[in-house]
């Protein structure tokens, strides 16, 4: 069910990402101010955007879960959030490397994407302890969905707030998340973004398939145990 279209999706992701990396190193020009270091931007920012979208998607799946009561939506929500947290680690790591290479410090506060990401990341890290401290599976799914919705609504709000704050304390000098990119850089960025998005969906489907198979298996084994017990009795 979940693995439909997985192979072509994976192929598309691989092709797009490879093309993106090739463009990064052979097509896009070096940035005038930051030099070669700016290349990190092509992996850091797409990861951040995809991860943030993943969090919001987790919230949307959670809404569908609460409205329908169908646990498969909760599974989709969980995997989306789980993957976005992993990407989040990558965002913070690459962001830190970029900061170090550009500014000499392993962290800077004047990049609104990075800062707002830190807050979002800290919030979503609580998803696991919240989820796994509730034993009843129905309640666990429901409460996780409520969290996913609240946190998903929080993501854009937080981004707005951080951006507003940064505008007044640290005018944006470095950030190139979108607006004024020259054509060839912008194309490279868009290809990288597409590749990252395809990768996310591929991994999402992959994990959904694995989890679903594992759940089916558990059910089969429980049935087997029950049948044997019945026969023996």
């Amino acid at each position: 069910m979940y693995s439909k279209g997985l192979a072509p999706l994976a192929a598309a992701a691989a092709v797009t990402l490879t093309a993106a990396f090739a463009m990064v190193f052979f097509y896009a020009p070096n940035d005038a101010d930051q030099g070669f270091v700016q290349k990190i931007f092509y992996v850091h920012v797409p990861m951040a955007i995809v991860a943030l979208c993943g969090f919001v998607a987790g919230g949307v799946f959670a809404i569908r879960h609460l409205r329908s009561g169908d646990p498969s939506w909760d599974l989709r929500s969980y995997v989306a959030i789980h993957l976005s947290i992993i990407l989040g680690v990558g965002v913070l790591a690459t962001g830190s490397i970029w900061a170090r290479a550009s500014w000499g410090h392993w962290w800077v506060w004047d990049e609104p994407v990075l800062v707002s990401f830190l807050v979002v990341f800290l919030l979503y890290c609580v998803y696991y302890p919240l989820r796994f401290s509730i034993e009843d599976p129905g309640r666990q799914a429901r409460y996780s969905s409520v969290f996913a919705i609240a946190a998903g609504a929080f993501v854009p709000l937080n981004f707005i707030a951080v951006r507003m704050a940064e505008q007044f304390t640290h005018p944006r000098v470095l950030s190139q998340t979108g607006g004024d990119l020259p054509g060839d850089m912008r194309l490279t960025f868009l290809v990288a973004l597409l590749g990252m998005a395809l990768l996310f969906v591929t991994l999402w489907k992959l994990e959904l398939t694995a989890k679903h198979a594992s759940m089916q298996l558990k059910r089969l084994r429980n049935e087997r145990v029950r049948d044997r017990a019945r026969v023996a009795a």
């Binding site: 302890p129 919240l130 409460y143 969905s145 409520v146 609240a150 609504a153």
Partner: protein, 224 residues
């Protein structure tokens, strides 16, 4: 729905008046934190951004205490089952709890803000009013809505005392940002309101989002 909310709210206020468990603790905590900041920052008086930051961080941390205890009465007397068995509209429950938290915070601020003016604020509070009241009102609303939601989310987990601060504080970062930024120019030597509309606008947006969201999802919490 309003009647049910009012009943629950009255009960919570009466319990607090009788037991005096949450509000005095929050006040005491705030003043203690001011003292901590005095020693930690090694400063006798603060102004501007530093003052705004210390005030709002203290109020937020005090709010965490209030949120942790928001459903305490129901839990300790097994009252939550009683509430759930009766056909109480979950929206009424949310409104009541959020209103209670809002009132608790307001009472705490009645003491904690003047205390801040006394202990740590260099320029004195006079210049900050009346704008500070608007910031406090909208900020409290955001904290109350989010706080009630988080309290309900954490109400039945085993690790409640850990989950509440970990969930609540990141969710309140926009509130903290807006309140601190709005308050900062009010706490300078020559206090004047700068960009107040912008920050109050952000606070209003946050309040609307989280009130609507909590009302929508509260039905799915505290069930069965």
């Amino acid at each position: 729905m309003i009647a049910a909310a009012r009943t629950i709210l009255r009960k919570d206020l009466l319990i607090e008046l009788r037991t005096k468990e949450s509000v005095p603790a929050m006040v005491l905590f705030s003043i203690t934190v001011y003292v901590l900041f005095h020693f930690g920052l090694d400063r006798d008086s603060l102004d501007g951004a530093l003052a705004a930051g210390v005030l709002w961080v203290t109020l937020l941390l005090a709010a965490v205490i209030g949120v942790s205890r928001l459903f305490a009465a129901e839990r300790e007397q097994g009252g939550i089952d009683g509430l759930l068995l009766s056909p109480v509209d979950r929206t009424a429950l949310f409104v009541a709890k959020a209103a209670a938290l809002f009132l608790f915070l307001s009472v705490v601020e009645l003491v904690a803000v003047p205390a801040f003016g006394l202990l740590l604020l260099g320029p004195g509070l006079g210049g900050a009013f009346p704008e500070l009241l608007a910031v406090l009102a909208l900020g409290n609303l955001g904290v109350a809505a989010t706080g009630a939601l988080v309290a309900a989310l954490a109400a039945e987990t085993r690790a409640r005392e850990l989950i509440v601060p970990l969930l609540l504080l990141p969710l309140l970062v926009p509130v903290l940002t807006a309140c601190a930024q709005a308050t900062e120019p009010l706490m300078r030597q020559d206090a004047v309101a700068e960009d107040l509309g912008r920050w109050l606008g952000l606070l209003s947006l946050y309040d609307v989002v989280f009130v609507l969201l909590s009302v929508a999802v509260f039905d799915f919490l505290l069930e069965d």
